[in-house]
């Protein structure tokens, strides 16, 4: 390690002589729920280690057992960022931190750090409700999931997004740390310091208790954690008095829902194109398509559109809405809800097919079953003339992870979840930072500038517009509207493409949400510093 960096000779500060600061880095942060902590943690003054680039199995052995200068900071390409490598490093004390180079080259054909059975403990299926369907016994929804997002790492993990700085790191490694002809490199060596100290520990209960103690007894209270909180968004075709609470008289609403959030392993890097944006765009386009006809020929029932935030973390948004409805603290309550249509992941249709998922347990009741079959029939008639072929998975298959499950926990509401997958997800990058526009097959002709790209109607946009038209027409029929007005309801692909392009370009719809089921925390600064050997050999003393 270079200690004798020139001090007296140069006029810039010593730190600038030793460290090269890296920007465009994203840490993995610590998250808490009621019982556990997940994510990554660094030491209070950062974790320092000798750099080593992981390019092969022998590198892994060097880091974990044979290298003479532990601890090591491991730089790895995307290809090595998988469960087996990370778990081996997790159990080793010779790894001081990990930095992942984010690039599409060498990306495996699937990567999902989420669990294989998302939200398995907070859905509707449990030991007392469809016990043989619980815990993904029948269908594993995300079989490609490696569960990395839910592991607790004792070292910092960062994502390096700047290509130029990655080159600088590589050059330093090659100049000083590379093994030449089997000989071990000697000091001075290239090293890296990762700093992402997290204040939150153990679980939410502990964190809230300590926050309370800080606020009551400390002169300068420390922030220990922030709750995951944000807002759901709702609207309706017929206006509702938003300040009235409890049961709304003479209102029977059809709920149209989708989720608003996504997540990934790293902080705020969640494009969630197929996982979330496809649903948002479809529902927005459906709302826009329905607006003229609901003015001219309003259907008997109200249509209530809602976007739930925080669904990745045990259904924060939808469980809050159900809770408020049960406590008569919302504009409508569960008795007002006639039926529910949820838009799941709809961006990656194979061919023309779209699947209507329903809950087999509630359908054992005949009246609920009748309503569900009616809803399916109306959707089939709405699909006439569109480039969509609707199907229904096996009756014995449970619902995929969806907000409808939280409503079913309270009341057996007839509902469907619309998705592009029959059994497991078509999304091979579920809840990861690679679920972006490219995953949705959004491609432009090569000669367009960014402004033209924004309004260009891609194939993905056209496909989503078809789904949106189907959703709008189905909702109109379900709300009691007439078949003859159906042809006037069409989603505009231009709107769809504009919204899709904007959404998939903006960075992560990170998860923030209303009730305090999960708390997470980020330290005041997460810096990545990087030390190199002396550039100027003329040491001062």
């Amino acid at each position: 390690m270079c200690v004798s960096a020139a001090a007296g000779v140069c006029s810039s500060s010593v730190e600038k002589k030793i460290y090269v600061e890296l920007n465009e880095t994203v840490p993995c942060v610590r998250l808490l729920n009621a019982t556990h902590q997940i994510g990554c943690q660094s030491s209070m003054s950062g974790d320092t280690g000798v750099l080593h680039v992981l390019e092969s199995e022998s590198d892994l052995d060097w880091i974990l057992s044979s290298g003479p200068h532990p601890p090591y900071i491991v730089i790895m390409e995307t290809a090595f960022f998988n469960r087996s490598v990370m778990m081996r490093m997790k159990s080793s004390s010779r790894v001081a931190g990990v930095a992942v180079i984010v690039s599409k080259t060498g990306l495996a054909d699937n990567f999902s750090p989420h669990t294989t059975c998302p939200n398995q403990n907070t859905g509707v299926y449990s030991a007392s409700y469809g016990s043989d369907l619980a815990n993904c016994n029948v269908t594993v929804w995300n079989p490609l999931g490696n569960g990395l997002s839910y592991e607790d790492f004792a070292f910092p993990v960062f994502a390096l997004k700047d290509e130029n700085q990655t080159q600088v790191i590589r050059k330093c490694y090659e100049d000083h740390n590379l093994r030449v002809n089997g000989s071990t490199p000697q000091y001075p060596l290239c090293a890296m310091q990762l700093f992402s100290h997290m204040h939150a520990v153990t679980d939410t209960v502990t964190c809230m208790r300590r926050t309370d103690l800080q606020n009551r007894f400390s002169i300068n209270p420390e922030v220990l954690c922030d709750p995951l909180s944000d807002f759901n968004v709702w609207t309706s075709t017929r206006p509702l008095n938003s300040s009235a609470k409890g049961h709304a008289a003479n209102e029977s609403v059809v709920l149209a829902a989708t989720r608003l959030d996504g997540r990934s392993f790293f902080w705020e890097q969640a494009p969630a194109a197929e996982g979330t944006v496809s649903g948002i765009v479809t529902l927005l386009a459906a709302i826009q398509a329905l607006s003229p006809v609901t003015q001219e020929a309003p259907p008997p029932r109200n249509i209530f559109f809602t976007f739930f935030q925080g669904e990745a973390f045990d259904y924060i948004g939808s469980s809050k809405m159900v809770y408020d409805m049960e406590k008569n603290d919302f504009v409508i309550d569960l008795n007002n809800v006639h039926s529910m249509l949820e838009i799941g992941q709809v961006g990656l249709r194979s061919g023309q097919s779209l699947w209507m998922h329903s809950d087999p347990v509630s359908r054992k009741n005949d009246s609920v079953n009748e309503e569900v079959l009616d809803l399916m029939r109306r959707m089939q008639s709405a699909a006439a003339g569109l480039n969509v072929s609707l199907g229904h998975p096996l009756f014995t298959q449970p619902l995929p992870p969806s907000s409808l499950q939280r409503f079913l926990r309270a009341r057996p509401i007839p509902g469907l979840v619309l998705a592009d997958h029959q059994t497991l997800f078509n999304n091979r990058y579920y809840e990861s930072m690679y679920d972006d526009a490219e995953n949705l097959n959004v491609t432009y002709p090569p000669d367009l500038n960014p402004d033209e790209q924004l309004v260009y109607e891609t194939d993905a946009a056209k496909s989503l517009a078809e789904v949106a038209t189907l959703v709008a027409r189905s909702l109109y029929l379900q709300a009691g509207g007439e078949e003859k007005s159906l042809s006037n309801i069409t989603a505009d692909p231009k709107i769809v493409s504009h919204v899709t392009n904007t959404h998939t370009r903006t960075l992560g719809v990170a998860v923030l949400l209303l009730s305090l089921l999960v708390t997470y925390f980020i330290s005041s600064k997460a810096e990545l510093l990087f030390s190199s050997a002396c550039e100027t050999p003329t040491t001062a003393y």
């Binding site: 943690q41 209070m44 100290h197 997290m198 204040h199 520990v201 153990t202 502990t206 208790r209 300590r210 103690l213 420390e222 220990l224």
Partner: protein, 101 residues
């Protein structure tokens, strides 16, 4: 203060005051008593007040050892088990370290 220049009765008075003061949960007074009067009590040639000073020094040393034992035991237990005690541990703590359990 130089003990050489003080008459013996005053030395006895000092040692007694330090000994009695230590009972007010002030073990450092006993520590000072032991260290300061050790030479007077055990290494100087005998004089009238010396047996009493010797007894004060011995009793202070005993009290000091008891305090050290109790404090060491409590500190070890607290440092080791505070994280596991959850709520009780937090309410007993003055400052809680950030980032570790």
């Amino acid at each position: 203060m130089n003990l050489e220049r003080i008459p013996n009765e005053e030395k006895l008075g000092l040692s007694r005051r330090y000994y009695l003061g230590g009972f007010a949960f002030l073990p450092f007074l006993w520590l000072v008593n032991v260290l300061w009067f050790f030479r007077e009590a055990f290494l100087k040639p005998t004089y009238t007040e010396q047996p009493q000073i010797k007894s004060y020094v011995k009793k202070s040393a005993l009290g000091l050892i008891v305090w050290v034992a109790v404090l060491t035991t409590w500190i070890t237990i607290f440092q080791h088990f505070r994280a596991q005690w959850g709520e009780v541990g937090d309410y007993l703590s003055f400052t809680i370290p950030l980032g570790t359990a």
